[in-house]
Structure formats: structure tokens, C-alpha cells
């Protein structure tokens, strides 16, 4: 576990440094103090908290989903949970009447959660039906996310320009969309859900040997599966409602950590949360430094994620 300790130390350092740099970008600029304070409180701090919460939610849920669906390829995006949540978000943004607009901020998290929960439920049913065939679950997830994408594209056709701009932001992911009221709803949901996932870590470990082995060693597999999936839906739903759909974090982060610290969920889940948070902080920092353009988060994570994942797979292949 020596390597594990090194990883913890390294991640913590990255995490703290990233927070400091994002806040420091404004703090060390030459804006007048009153404005500086205002920007830090109203923009930078929500940005930092959003990045931490969203990254932690996606990475930890990805790790949980991989174990629950017995599939190392599972990820909230790939199995369609993210797109279910985005679909509801898009529908709410585009279709809600104008009088409802002021309440949208509060409606969105719950809408996203419902979308996430609905797709999770479908995935769960399919996973039960196709149990043993890990490709089938992934394929049906891809089918669901493609379908959700298509419906969103149809909605595009029937919406006006201002709603469109809103939506594009949403679909590419952004950590700049939050404010304190949104965080007040989203933060407890994510903290609770990720905490719950970590709480079940020891039981999740027993799923590695399959249903029968887990059950005979004292785990109620049905209950555990249901609860973990609901926790993933809550975390991912809240994350999507805050930052839109962000690709790859849920697949990439746990995968690389599995290679470094192993598969014990007691380590893997909290470390995934920490690493996911750090990754999104770095993306936010990159965005801050290239002030002229706001970088869509998905673009950055996918640019980083693709090559890293291929590297990780090649390395894992050599080892395994």
C-alpha cells in the first residue's frame, strides 16, 4: 500500500495547489480590493466548489458503477445516466413557459435527478437481464445515450436562439453556470451521495467475486445494487444540473487509480473523488488562464482523457 500512500499525498498536493491557483488568479491580479472581494466571493469560490463537487461526484459514481455493473467500462456518460439527466435539463430549458423561468434554477437539479434516475432504472433492468454479458450493458447504455442525444437534437429544431445558447453550454459542460443558491441545493445532494458510496465500499468489494459469493458472505446484493445505483443517480443528476454533461471523468479517473492503488473500494472511492475534484479544478484553472475564451469542460477532459486512457489501457494490458 506504499504506492497508495504516495498517491494520496500527490493527489492532496495537486488538489490544494489547484484550489489556491484558481483563487490566486484573482487574488494576485491588480483589481481594486472591493471588486476583488466581490469576484472571489461571488465567482471564484462558487467555481472552485462546483469543480470539486462535480469532479468528485462523476469520478466516484464511475468507480461505483463499474463495480455494481461488473463492468470496468462503465461510466455515468457511457451507460447513459448523464444523457438522461441532460435530456430532462434540455427539455426544461427549452419547453418551460416564461413564467417558470425564475424557478428553473431550483427545478433543474430535481429534473436532472429524475432523468438520471429513470435512465439508471432502465440500465439496471437491462443489466439484470443481460447479467454475465458485460458488452450488452454497455451497448444498451450507448443506445440510450444516442437516443437521448437524438431527442435533444430534435428539441434544437424547435427552440429559439437564446435558449439554444443556453443549451449548448449545457451539453458541452461548464463550471461557470453556478451560484450560491444552486450550490446550496446541489452540494448536500452530492456530498450525501458520495458519502453513501464510500459507506458501502466494503460491501462493494465483495461484489468482485459475483452475486453468489457476495450473498453467501453476507451482502444483500439486490439491496446493495439498488442503493448504490440510486446514489449514483443522485450524484450524477446533481452534477449534471450544476455543470452540464462532462465526458470521461467517471471512466478515466477510476481506471488510472485502479492501476495505481488497486481495486479496494475503501481506497478507490475516496481517492476517485479527490482525483476527480482535482482534475476539474485543473480544467477550471486552464479556463481561468485562457480568459479570452471560456473552455467547454467536456472538450478539455476529452482531450486529456483520450490519450491518457489509451496509455492506461496499454499499461494495464502489459501488467494483466
Amino acid at each position: 500500500m506504499n504506492q497508495g500512500k504516495n498517491v494520496v499525498v500527490a493527489l492532496t498536493i495537486v488538489f490544494v495547489l489547484a484550489i489556491c491557483s484558481v483563487l490566486g488568479v484573482v487574488f494576485f491580479s491588480d483589481i481594486e480590493p472591493a471588486l476583488k472581494q466581490h469576484i472571489t466571493l461571488q465567482l471564484q469560490l462558487p467555481l472552485v466548489i462546483t469543480a470539486i463537487l462535480v469532479g468528485a461526484a462523476l469520478a466516484s459514481s464511475g468507480a461505483t458503477l463499474q463495480v455494481v455493473l461488473r463492468n470496468p467500462l462503465a461510466d455515468p456518460g457511457i451507460v447513459g445516466i448523464t444523457s438522461g439527466a441532460s435530456l430532462v435539463a434540455a427539455a426544461l430549458l427549452l419547453l418551460s413557459p416564461s413564467w417558470a423561468q425564475p424557478y428553473l434554477h431550483y427545478l433543474l437539479p430535481f429534473g436532472c435527478f429524475i432523468g438520471a434516475l429513470a435512465t439508471t432504472f432502465v440500465i439496471y433492468r437491462l443489466a439484470r437481464k443481460f447479467l454475465g454479458s458485460s458488452t450488452a450493458v454497455i451497448l444498451s447504455g450507448i443506445a440510450i445515450s444516442t437516443l437521448a442525444g437524438a431527442i435533444i437534437a430534435w428539441l434544437y429544431l424547435f427552440s429559439d436562439a437564446s435558449a439554444l445558447r443556453n443549451l449548448t453550454f449545457w451539453l458541452m459542460g461548464s463550471v461557470y453556470q453556478t451560484n450560491w443558491p444552486i450550490l446550496a441545493v446541489g452540494a448536500p445532494l452530492i456530498i450525501g451521495a458520495v458519502g453513501g458510496q464510500i459507506f458501502y465500499a466494503a460491501s462493494l468489494n465483495k461484489l468482485y467475486a459475483g452475486d453468489i459469493a457476495a450473498r453467501s458472505s453476507g451482502v444483500d446484493v439486490e439491496k446493495l445494487t439498488e442503493r448504490s445505483l440510486i446514489l449514483c443517480a443522485v450524484a450524477v443528476g446533481a452534477a449534471v444540473s450544476m455543470a452540464g454533461s462532462i465526458a470521461f471523468v467517471g471512466l478515466l479517473v477510476p481506471h488510472i487509480l485502479r492501476l495505481m492503488v488497486g481495486h479496494n473500494n475503501r481506497w478507490l472511492l475516496p481517492l476517485s473523488a479527490l482525483a476527480g475534484a482535482s482534475l476539474l479544478l485543473l480544467v477550471a484553472l486552464a479556463s481561468e488562464l485562457t480568459r479570452a475564451i471560456t473552455l467547454p469542460v467536456s472538450m478539455v477532459t476529452a482531450t486529456l482523457g483520450g490519450p491518457l486512457l489509451i496509455w492506461a489501457l496499454a499499461k494495464g494490458h502489459v501488467r494483466g
Partner: protein
């Protein structure tokens, strides 16, 4: 004798779809029971019913005199353990990690294989390999280790009930006999072990009770010499057998399958 000792597990009027139909069956503490029967005879179903893993359509299963369905899963896991056939994992777990998940109350990742287990299973040398690197037989030895470690403290006290579904499958001949000896040694400590097996000769000489099954029913239950008669074996396995005895060692020769003409 019957009245002296309460049975650890007792079954009465068990019915499970078309798979099982058992009137009365019990196991006493310290018994070493081998279940024999052709494919599809219901050996695995019986083990699963005894383990409390599947509910029966009717009948009672009593474990330590308490109906099995009243046991919470977590307490069951502390008194009995089950080795299923075919476990697979698509993750590249190391054997050490894998075992550590099933050993109760190990916060540290260090798994120590007890000497008695190591002698029979010889798994220490591949603790650092990943599961996917193991051969079928090596994997089976790891599974046996996992299942026994789950209850190791009870096994040492001689209080455990161990249910093994074809534990010898895939093992080389040396490890088959090593595991059979381990099972015998654990039973002599007072543990009760019920396992299914396809090797009639090994079963006859290493068990103290045989359950012979066919079509979901118990054809015979009792001491090996009493149950494994030529007549019984020929009806159940549809083969011709020759049975001989050398120095208290029973030997079974399969001559030819009985054709259905």
C-alpha cells in the same frame, strides 16, 4: 446415537420446482458428507438450499434448529460458507487484494494464509498475481481459500458449516487429494462439511457419509459401504461397476455405460 446429538442442519419435505424433492435429510456436527450423482441430479440446488441462498417451494430447512429463512444474511455468513461453481471477475484484481475483501475485519491489506490451508492449497506463491493470470486449477484453489478464510475463526473452533460445490473441479490429482485431506482434517476438528464430487473412489474413502442423488431425490444416505453398492451405483449412474476392497480401501472400476437398447 441419533438422539445424542442435535443435527446442525435438517431438511424435511423439501420441494423446489422439478429440481429437488427431498423428504428427510440431516447432517450432524463433524460429519464429512460427499454428495454423488449424475449431472442435473440436484447436487448444486441442494447445496444452495442448505446455504439459504434459494427459497424452497415448500418444506423446512433448519440450521442450528432455527429456520434458515429467519437467519439474517450477515449472521449466516458467520456460521456457514459456500463455494459456488464458476466465479469470474472482469477486473484485474491481485489475489492478495481479492482474498483480503472476504477475510472479516482485516483493515490492513495483508492476508496471511494459515499453515493448514497453505499446505493443501499452496496459494501463497501467487498472491501477487492477478486473477486473470491464473490457470483454472489455480483459480479454483484461490476460490477455496477465499471461501474457507471467510469463516476461518469458526473453522478453528470447529463450529463451521462448509458447503462446497465441486471443489475438486479443475485441480490436478495431487491437489485433489490434498483438498480431500484438508476437508477430512477440518471435519475432525468438529466442522461439518458437505461437498459435491464426481470421483466415486475418492468420495468413498475420504467421507464418512455419502448422499447419493438422482432426479432431485436422495437415493441413499449413509456410510459409504452401505450406500455405494453395485446395485445403487448402476441405477444412478447407468454404468457397469466392479467394486473391490484392498486394505480397507474401496476401489471402483467403471466397466462400460449401460446402453439403453
Amino acid at each position: 446415537m441419533e438422539n445424542q446429538q442435535q443435527p446442525i442442519i435438517s431438511l424435511s419435505n423439501i420441494k423446489l420446482k422439478k429440481r429437488l424433492n427431498i423428504e428427510r435429510l440431516h447432517a450432524k456436527k463433524g460429519e464429512c458428507i460427499y454428495i454423488l450423482g449424475p449431472n442435473g441430479a440436484g447436487k448444486s440446488s441442494l447445496l444452495f438450499v442448505i446455504a439459504g441462498m434459494i427459497a424452497t417451494d415448500s418444506g423446512n430447512v433448519l440450521l442450528h434448529n432455527k429456520a434458515i429463512e429467519q437467519w439474517p444474511l450477515a449472521s449466516l455468513a458467520n456460521v456457514r460458507t459456500l463455494l459456488p461453481q464458476h466465479t469470474q471477475s472482469s477486473f484485474h484484481l491481485s489475489v492478495r487484494e481479492y482474498l483480503s475483501f472476504y477475510v472479516p475485519s482485516t483493515v490492513a491489506d495483508d492476508v496471511k494464509i494459515p499453515a493448514l490451508l497453505e499446505k493443501a492449497l499452496e496459494i501463497t506463491s501467487f498472491l501477487d498475481k492477478t486473477l486473470t493470470q491464473l490457470s483454472g486449477g489455480e483459480r479454483q484453489r484461490v476460490e477455496l481459500g477465499r471461501v474457507l478464510l471467510q469463516l476461518w475463526h469458526q473453522l478453528q473452533k470447529g463450529e463451521a458449516l462448509v458447503l462446497l460445490d465441486e471443489p475438486l473441479q479443475g485441480l490436478d490429482i495431487r491437489h485433489q487429494y490434498a483438498v480431500a485431506q484438508l476437508v477430512q482434517a477440518l471435519c475432525s476438528k468438529g466442522n461439518t462439511i458437505i461437498m459435491s464430487c464426481h470421483d466415486i473412489g475418492l468420495s468413498a474413502n475420504y467421507s464418512n457419509t455419502i448422499w447419493l442423488m438422482q432426479h432431485g431425490c436422495i437415493v441413499g444416505a449413509g456410510k459409504p459401504e452401505a450406500v455405494l453398492t453395485k446395485g445403487n451405483l448402476e441405477t444412478v449412474f447407468e454404468c457397469h461397476f466392479a467394486i473391490s476392497k484392498h486394505d480397507n480401501f474401496l476401489e471402483f472400476q467403471v466397466c462400460a455405460p449401460i446402453s439403453l437398447e
